[in-house]
């Protein structure tokens, strides 16, 4: 409680209320008002989450800022919110990116502005809800509610093939969610009538049940991460989504899946997690290596960044399933860093796309001649994406590789190839787009970034460099929770 207000509830509902207000501004005649209201709402939304960081006690793995109220008494469902070292950073990441996507869509979005801005604000609140929910049904409600605005964002403001991508996105994720729902209901019945996630952590389950539950969770979370082989919706969704949609998708939504593994799969079914860790590691490494190679041959910038996201998320799942502190903290750091870096890269592609209306690498060349400031920023984020020391990308990848090395040399070896492939696909794309002579008359007409874009990129650049040079503020907050989770996972829950 800060000033007597429940911080998490405010963080969830403030953006949603602003979203409804923005919707109420009506049609595009009032677009300027809608934009300003959205910006105010998103900045306020970010400010109210800051107490979660400043007031966070580092020395405990207990849930903090807990809110607990009865919701549906008949099924013992509660409005139960709280954060620990694992979830708190994602809430900040979410609220941090909302003003950025509002700014990113400031001029580009011309039709149905109010609906666009409102969708992002509402989604911001809902995603914070996903990270803060401690009741399984509350979690599920937020989890599913997240789909509706994203579906509309891709489908209304997306590119050529947006309808296909939107429907694919929705059905893929719904399949996973529905199986998870059955698993949650099963756990409810096994736990003696509680939907509290923390109670689920202590339910003894036989191995057969654990494996089935793990598979149900796997479908829900792996689709969101996305892990190989259920990743195919992501390139479609990313390519067709508007810039803001891609940013939120890459920066936040992918993290929801990995967060699910940490909050649900590992602590609820630890024995099955250990048993199936081999499969998870194999899938992660396939994602890292194979998807990295796939990224190399992409001719579409957004697709390239999308595949790069899948490859980087492979690191995250690898870190989670090697079950040591380096791996898990590395995974968390990698998630945060990937949020910043991939978000920034999608914004870079967005800057070019707004001017040229093309995502094809072949349509560019020599952009540095016309947009030097942009080229500098793009360089920084490209380097971060390839894991250059001094940027945030390095911290996470390096820690995961350290952890993998402790588990098995070959895991680390395979994972480390990403440093080569990642650099190859990112920098090769950068070279083809930015360097060289001015390729065609369209490029010659490009104008450099305006103040709005410079502001966004400066903030992101500071964050990426800051996290790369001094990661302690990010890592110290998660120590207690990660250690506690590892201890918990080490204990068998077989009856």
């Amino acid at each position: 409680m800060i000033f007597g207000l429940p911080v998490i509830s405010v963080a969830i509902w403030l953006p949603i209320i602003f979203g409804i207000l923005v919707l109420a501004t009506g049609d595009d005649k009032n677009a300027p008002l809608a934009r300003i209201l959205a910006l105010v709402g998103s900045i306020l939304g970010f400010l109210v989450t800051i107490p979660l960081y400043t007031g966070f006690a580092h020395d405990t793995s207990q849930m903090q800022f807990v809110e607990l109220h009865n919701w549906i008494a008949r099924f013992n469902i509660h409005y139960h919110l709280g954060v620990d070292g694992i979830s708190v950073l994602f809430i900040l990441l979410t609220s941090f990116f909302t003003p950025i996507v509002v700014l990113a869509g400031w001029q580009v979005i011309e039709k149905r502005v109010a609906q666009y801005m409102a969708a992002f604000l509402i989604m911001s609140g809902v995603m914070i809800g996903v990270f803060a929910a401690l009741d399984a049904i509350l979690f599920y409600v937020f989890w599913e509610a997240m789909l509706i605005p994203m579906f509309l964002i891709i489908g209304i403001w997306g590119g050529q093939n947006r309808v296909y991508a939107a429907v694919k996105f929705f059905l893929y994720t719904l399949l996973g969610s529905l199986l998870m729902l059955v698993a949650l209901i099963y756990l409810y019945n096994q736990s003696g009538g509680s939907f509290s996630i923390l109670d689920f952590h202590h339910v003894a389950l036989p191995m057969s049940a654990q494996v089935l539950i793990f598979i149900a969770f796997f479908f829900a979370f792996a689709v969101k991460v996305p892990m190989f082989p259920v990743h195919t919706w992501l390139p479609d969704a990313h390519v067709e989504a508007p810039t803001g949609g891609s940013v939120i998708l890459a920066a936040i939504m992918l993290k929801v899946g990995a967060y699910g593994f940490l909050r649900f799969s590992l602590p609820i079914v630890p024995d099955a997690s250990h048993k199936l860790a081999g499969m998870m590691i194999a899938l992660s490494l396939i994602a890292v290596v194979y998807i990295g190679l796939v990224a190399l041959i992409q001719s579409d910038m957004k697709k390239l960044v999308a595949y790069s996201s899948i490859s980087h998320m492979g690191f995250v799942t690898l870190g989670i399933f090697i079950f040591n502190a380096y791996g898990m903290e590395g995974a968390l750091l990698q998630m945060i860093s990937h949020g910043f870096v991939s978000g920034a890269l999608f914004l870079c592609v967005g800057v070019l796309y707004d001017r040229m209306h093309s995502r094809n690498i072949a349509d560019y060349g020599g952009v540095a001649n016309r947009m030097p400031v942009f080229a500098a920023f793009f360089m920084l984020f490209a380097m971060a994406n390839s894991g250059l020391p001094g940027t945030s990308g390095f911290v996470g990848e390096f820690t995961v590789i350290l952890g993998a090395m402790k588990a098995n040399f070959w895991y680390a070896f395979a994972a480390a190839t990403t440093l080569v492939f990642g650099a190859a696909y990112t920098l090769w794309m950068y070279k083809r787009v930015i360097f060289g002579a001015v390729a065609n008359p369209h490029v010659a007409e490009l104008t450099d970034m305006n103040l709005r874009e410079k502001t966004i990129f400066t903030i992101l650049a500071i964050t990426v460099l800051g996290m790369g040079l001094y990661p302690l503020p990010f890592s110290e907050i998660m120590h207690a929770s990660v250690n506690d989770l590892l201890v918990h996972v080490a204990h068998s829950k077989l009856p």
Partner: protein, 483 residues
Amino acid sequence: MNLITNLMPAGAEIFLLVMVSVILIADLLIKQSGRLVTYMLVQLTLLGCSLLTVGTHENGVIHAFNNMYVDDLMSDVLKLLTYLAMSMVLVYSRQYLTVRGLFSGEFMALALFAMLGMMVMISANHFLTLYLGLELLSLSLYAMVALQRDSAVATEAAMKYFILGALASGLLLYGMSMLYGATGSLELGAVANAIQSGTADKNLLVFGLVFVVSGLAFKLGVVPFHMWVPDVYHGAPTAMTMLIGSAPKLAAFAFVARILVEGLQPLVQHWSGMLIILAIASMALGNITAIAQTNLKRMLAYSTIAHMGFMLLGLLSGGIEGYGAAMFYTVIYVLMSLGAFGMIMLLSREGFEADTINDFKGLNQRSPWLAFLMLLLMFSMAGVPPTVGFYAKFSVLNAVVQTGHIWLAVVAVLFSLIGAFYYLRIVKLMYFDTPESHTPIAVGSDAVLLLSINSLGVLLLGLLPGALMSVCAVAVQQSLLLH
């Protein structure tokens, strides 16, 4: 027992019968231009019925007319919801019927007679009373479908409905006669006791049960007895479709629950197996066939089949969880289907039926508010939170998992996933496509207001579903499980 106390449990029904007669006669004296007077009279009648139902409510289970009639919490709750649904049907369809020249005294009288039938079904405690209510409802509906007598499709639909409905009634009666032969009684409680005592001929009982379940399946419209549903939904004027697709489902739930749970509980292992097959077949065929539909009314018909299959999952799970979930599911389904058909009527105008899915193209550009309301309804039908459709599915799944049939829950969610596709397609048409026509949407403000309340209700109940869930659970507990 003196006459008055005996009549009290049926007070609302008696009042309704008197009022229908009055309305029938009064309507003769009213010119077409003054039809609104009849309409107001009907709405007042519904209000009167609600007051009487609430007023005559007593705790516990009251039997009347030599145990042929029962007044309990479940019947009162379902009756109140039936009045509400009927009242909504009338508000939604007033303008639609007026421009088509169908807004007549006959329509309203038939609607009230149909409602009387539903009330008798809801409160029946005897095979004969059940049958009486069912036939009163069905005959009124046949006539209503045929009311638009210059329309070939409507007449065809009425004919199909009548023939198949009569066949189903025949099956049901045949099954009832066998049960009577085996148990020597037509009263539900006595039938249950006779079966329990073990004196009845088991073969005859199960044989009768098959016919009864088939008859019920016909009336519910579940596979393989679903053939009439798409044609009737499609062919009937939308107002009649709405009536058929809404309130009677509540009565059908009561009907099925009374026969199977109260009367044939000792045969539960036999009928729950049958219901599993019916439920899976309905969810499969309903959801898959709905994908191929281009007519929204037909699509909703197949969606009804799938929803009724899902509802059966609750019934066959048994216990307070199962029956409560089935009742909750039915109530929520009625609420959603009222909204969906209300939307079709709202977008229709003179000489134009907005009943193909392409009529919804670009609705977001023509009217963002209506598109948003439809979005809520569609996501609710698909079972996506935070709409109440999710809790309907959730409570049924919970009941299924509790009985240990986890595979059944998995099958159910997989078919829901398929179902989500065609609801999503409507959202896609409304939001992603450009409109085919730019005709302004001219609608009565009362209908828009009601639709807004209806759809926002779907959202609001989704945020706070607890109260309604508890009401359903308590109702089935007091009515079905205490004896």
